[in-house]
C-alpha cells in the first residue's frame, strides 16, 4: 500500500483504493463525443478576411509579384471601374437573364419529366436509358450545334444552361419519387384519395427534399455552363468579361470577374437554403 492510499483511509470513512495503480478506483475514460458538427459562428468570415488580408499584405510588401497575382485592392478597383462605367449592369444583367431563363425552364422541364418517370412505368422504361445516355455529355460540347439550332444570340446560351440543368433535375426528381414511403401511398389509397390527390399531397411533398438538393447541384452546373457559353460566343456577360480580361492579361479584372462568380454562387446557395428551410420546415 502506498502512502496515498493511507491518506485516503484517513480522510474518508470508506477506504478508497489507490487512484493511480492498476486495479484501483479510477474514472471511466470518456470515449464519446465528436462526429457532431456544430455551428461555429464567426469562423467562416474570419477565414475569408484573414486570407484576403494576407494576400493584400503579400502584394504590398512585394512578396507576391503583381504580374503573378494582382492585389485584392486592385481587383476591387477594377470592380469599382465596372460600377462607375455602368458596364457592370450590362454584364451582370446579361448573365443573370441567361441563368434565370435557362435554369428555370430546365428545372421545370426536369421536374415534369422526372415526375413522369417516377409515376409511369412506360415513361420510365423509355426515358431512363435516354437520360443516362445524354446526362454525361458535356453540354458545352454541343454549343456549336445549339448555335445552329437556336441562333448565335441568347437562344444557344439559354439552351446550353437549360439542357445542363434538365438532366440532374430529372434524376433528382425521380429518385425522390422512388423514395417516397410506399406505406404513405397505400394509406392514401385506403382512404379513397384520388390519384391526383395522392400525387399532389403525398408524392410531390415526399420528393421535395430530393428535388431541392438536386437544385444545389443543377445551379452550380448552370453557373459553370453560363461562363463557358459566354466565353465561346458573347459580347456581354461575366464570362465574356473574364475572357476579355484574360486575353488582355488584365489580371485585376480577371480576379474581379471570378470573384463576382463566386459571390453569385454564394448568393444562390443562400437562396436555396432559404427555400429549403421554408418548404421543409416540417423536417426540423
Amino acid at each position: 500500500m502506498s502512502t496515498e492510499a493511507l491518506d485516503n483511509t484517513g480522510a474518508r470513512a470508506a477506504p478508497m483504493p489507490n487512484r493511480a495503480a492498476g486495479g484501483g478506483v479510477r474514472p471511466v475514460p470518456f470515449r464519446g463525443g465528436g462526429f457532431q458538427p456544430r455551428p461555429v459562428g464567426l469562423v467562416s468570415p474570419l477565414v475569408f478576411v484573414a486570407l484576403i488580408g494576407l494576400w493584400e499584405l503579400g502584394s504590398r510588401t512585394g512578396l507576391i509579384s503583381n504580374v503573378a497575382l494582382p492585389a485584392p485592392s486592385q481587383a476591387f478597383e477594377a470592380f469599382l471601374d465596372l460600377v462607375r462605367t455602368g458596364t457592370l449592369w450590362t454584364h451582370l444583367g446579361a448573365s443573370l437573364y441567361r441563368l434565370a431563363l435557362g435554369w428555370t425552364f430546365g428545372s421545370l422541364l426536369g421536374i415534369a419529366v422526372g415526375l413522369m418517370i417516377g409515376l409511369f412505368s412506360l415513361a420510365r422504361a423509355g426515358l431512363v436509358p435516354l437520360v443516362s445516355a445524354l446526362f454525361p455529355i458535356p453540354k458545352i460540347a454541343l454549343l456549336p450545334l445549339f448555335i445552329i439550332w437556336f441562333g448565335i444570340g441568347e437562344g444557344s446560351k439559354v439552351a446550353t444552361i437549360l439542357f445542363g440543368t434538365f438532366f440532374p433535375t430529372v434524376i433528382a426528381t425521380y429518385g425522390g419519387v422512388d423514395n417516397v414511403d410506399r406505406n404513405l401511398i397505400r394509406m392514401g389509397q385506403s382512404f379513397g384519395l384520388s390519384w391526383l390527390s395522392i400525387v399532389r399531397k403525398i408524392i410531390v411533398p415526399g420528393a421535395l427534399p430530393a428535388i431541392l438538393s438536386g437544385f444545389r447541384i443543377s445551379v452550380s452546373i448552370a453557373v459553370v455552363l453560363l461562363v463557358a457559353a459566354e466565353m465561346i460566343g458573347a459580347q456581354h456577360g461575366i464570362g465574356a468579361y473574364i475572357l476579355m480580361a484574360g486575353s488582355l492579361f488584365a489580371t485585376d479584372q480577371l480576379i474581379a470577374g471570378v470573384a463576382m462568380l463566386s459571390v453569385l454562387g454564394l448568393t444562390i446557395a443562400w437562396l436555396i437554403g432559404r427555400a429549403e428551410s421554408y418548404f421543409l420546415k416540417w423536417r426540423r
Binding site: 392514401g188 399531397k201 421535395l208 423536417r283
Partner: protein
C-alpha cells in the same frame, strides 16, 4: 354492415400464404386475428380492405354502411402512416379534402375527432414532435373522421412501448363502448387480443388456415376488472398457438 370472407386462398409465387379462410365480421364486432409470424395475417387484412386481391375467394360487404360513413373500410397502420409535412389537423383533413364537404363541415369533423381522441391542444403540431402513442392517436382520429363501418387495424399497438400500449388499449375500449365500431384487429400480442376481441381467430403457420375461433362473451368495458379470467383465455389461445409458433419458427430458420 357485415363483412364476409369466402374461401380465401393466396400464394406469393411458390410460397403458399393463405388457405381457405372463411370468416364473417358482424356489425359492432371486433374480431382479432392472431397467428405465428409469417402466417399471412397482414396479407389477409389487405385483402379485406381491398388493397390487394386474393388469388381465390372473395371478400363481400353486406348491408348498408351507416349514414354519414365516408370510407366504410378504414385502416389503422402499425407505422401510423402520418404525412410528416402535415400538422396533426392537416393529417386528419387530408382524408376529408376529396369529399366535397365544404370548409365549415370539414373543420367541424376535424375538431370533433381531435376532441374525441384528446388531441385538441396538439392540432398544429408536426408529427415529428409527437410520441409514438400520440402519433397513433392521430391515426385513430383520422380513421374516426371518415366514420368507418369497419376498422382494419394492422398491429396498431406493436410499435409502441408497453405503457403506451396499455393507455391506448383503454382508449380503444372506451371508444368502442361509445361508438360500437366493428373491427378486424390483427396482432401477435395475445394480451391485446383478449382485451379487445369479441372473437379471436387463431391462424395456423404458413399456409395460414383458421385453426380455431375463440369467442369471449365478456363486454370489453368489464374486462379490465376480470384480468384473471382473461389470463385463462389467453393461456388457452397460447396453447393452441404454441406448436404452430414453434414449428413456424423452426421452418423459417431451416428454409430461409
Amino acid at each position: 354492415m357485415e363483412l364476409v370472407l369466402r374461401d380465401i386462398s393466396h400464394d406469393y409465387g411458390a410460397t403458399q400464404v393463405l388457405r381457405d379462410i372463411s370468416l364473417t365480421i358482424g356489425a359492432g364486432e371486433i374480431v382479432c386475428v392472431v397467428g405465428p409470424s409469417g402466417c399471412g395475417k397482414s396479407t389477409l387484412l389487405r385483402f379485406i380492405g381491398g388493397l390487394e386481391r386474393p388469388d381465390r375467394g372473395e371478400v363481400l360487404m353486406s348491408g348498408e354502411a351507416p349514414a354519414g360513413c365516408l370510407n366504410p373500410l378504414t385502416y389503422i397502420f402499425q407505422d401510423f402512416a402520418l404525412l410528416p409535412w402535415r400538422s396533426v389537423a392537416g393529417n386528419v383533413s387530408l382524408v376529408l379534402e376529396d369529399r366535397d364537404l365544404g370548409a365549415a363541415r370539414m373543420r367541424e369533423i376535424v375538431d370533433d375527432v381531435l376532441a374525441r381522441t384528446k388531441l385538441s391542444d396538439f392540432r398544429s403540431a408536426w408529427p415529428r414532435q409527437l410520441s409514438g402513442g400520440m402519433k397513433q392517436r392521430v391515426a385513430i382520429a383520422r380513421a374516426l373522421s371518415v366514420s368507418p363501418a369497419v376498422m382494419l387495424m394492422d398491429e396498431p399497438l406493436s410499435a409502441l412501448d408497453a405503457q403506451t400500449r396499455e393507455l391506448l388499449m383503454d382508449d380503444l375500449v372506451e371508444l368502442s363502448s361509445r361508438e360500437r365500431f366493428s373491427a378486424c384487429y390483427v396482432t401477435h400480442n395475445l394480451a391485446e387480443a383478449v382485451r379487445l376481441g369479441h372473437r379471436i381467430v387463431v391462424l395456423s403457420r404458413r399456409p395460414g388456415r383458421i385453426r380455431e375461433i375463440v369467442a369471449i362473451d365478456m363486454p370489453l368495458a368489464e374486462r379490465a376488472a376480470h384480468m384473471a379470467e382473461l389470463e385463462r383465455v389467453q393461456r388457452d389461445v397460447w396453447l393452441i398457438m404454441r406448436d404452430e409458433a414453434q414449428q413456424a419458427d423452426r421452418e423459417l430458420a431451416g428454409v430461409d
